[in-house]
Symmetry: C2
Subunit: 194 residues, 2 copies
DNA sequence: GTGTCGACTCTAGCAGTGCTAGAAATTCAA
DNA sequence: TTGAATTTCTAGCACTGCTAGAGTCGACAC
């Protein structure tokens, strides 16, 4: 146990607290309310300390929130699909339900993941949680008997993403969620359909 | 022809030039580059003049760009569907192609329409172009033999919106556009499918 | 042509924002 | 304890959206 160890531990702790503060503040009051000064106040340091942890500035903090969101989403999706009943349709239904629930329960995090953070995608430097999340989508959505699994996963993802974002913006009729989800699952599992 | 007439004409002209300047600047350099000072420079007035036209400030300017975008989208979609071959599938294919083309050709306008502007939706004060656009979606996407047309339109819309936004963010594989679109149309027209 | 008044535009300034430089404070090892 | 290294802070910059009130302009009456 050296002084250096403690310092690194404290530094990592503070790093995590910045990300957590950003995420909480965004979920509570929206991303417009997340300013470097408010974050600094929340962790009880002065504002320039943030840049020691995130040299990219505020954008880097938002990206960290997004990566954290992707990690949680991947874990949650994997658990849901694993716990679904046998066969493809229950897995797709569980995936869709869980995805939309995640977006609805964490609107600001979802916004960071898809609208605010400039994260590399499908590249060598793509963060692991993004790869993991897409892998769950591909494994679950791709039919075993037809075409390109990646393409199928992309289309399924687009459908879920579209549903999540339009619902968040209040642009879908609110009383129809269950039936619309059922219809979506029907369309995404045509060989198992009604 | 009175002095008042000319003034109203000039005022309307300036109103339109503000919206056009915002839209051009956003498409050229992104919405972060659209500031009230830059807009004012572009129309050759001082900055507070903007507030005489748009008392809501910058947000109201963005909303005006969005409403303009919805009007164009509705017109373009209606023309595409009207010009499609007979039957549902060609109409859905034309709709999908046109929708995604619009989003790809006008990324900043599309962002204003769906991410930035707080426009009322499905309410008495919903601007006409939004209603018109959704009507084209519903008329085209709703099958004539099954369930709730509104629900079907919403799901189709979500699919297209998801494809548009994920493509814009570079999150779909770029070489697969045509085949992914074909797959999307297949899924949205199951009774006409391949 | 001159003067007045109302409408319109402008300058100036405010609070707030992200970020940086260098001073000040703290920590740590000898 | 001292001095050096590290860390945190204060102060300030350019920029942003917005507002108040001064300044300018145009229209109209005389």
């Amino acid at each position: 146990m050296t002084t250096q160890d403690r310092k690194e531990r404290e530094r990592a702790d503070r790093h995590g607290r910045i990300v957590a503060a950003a995420r909480e503040l965004a979920e509570d009051q929206g991303w417009d309310a997340v300013t470097t000064r408010r974050l600094a106040d929340r962790i009880e340091y002065s504002q320039p300390v943030l840049y020691g942890h995130f040299p990219g500035g505020k954008d880097a903090i938002v990206a960290a929130v997004a990566v954290e969101g992707f990690a949680e989403l991947a874990t949650t999706l994997r658990a849901a699909v694993t716990g679904a009943g046998p066969g493809r349709r229950p897995a797709v239904a569980a995936l869709a339900t869980t995805y939309l629930d995640f977006a609805a329960q964490h609107p600001a995090t979802y916004t960071a993941m898809f609208d605010l953070a400039a994260l590399p995608f499908a590249r060598d430097d793509t963060p692991g949680p993004l790869l993991e999340g897409f892998a769950v989508l591909r494994d679950t959505l791709a039919p075993t008997t037809t075409g390109d699994p990646g393409r199928y996963a992309e289309l399924g993802w687009a459908t879920l993403h579209g549903l999540a974002t339009l619902a968040r913006a209040g642009r879908l009729s609110p009383d129809d969620d269950g039936e619309r989800l059922t219809l979506a699952v029907d369309l995404l599992t045509p060989s198992d359909g009604p």
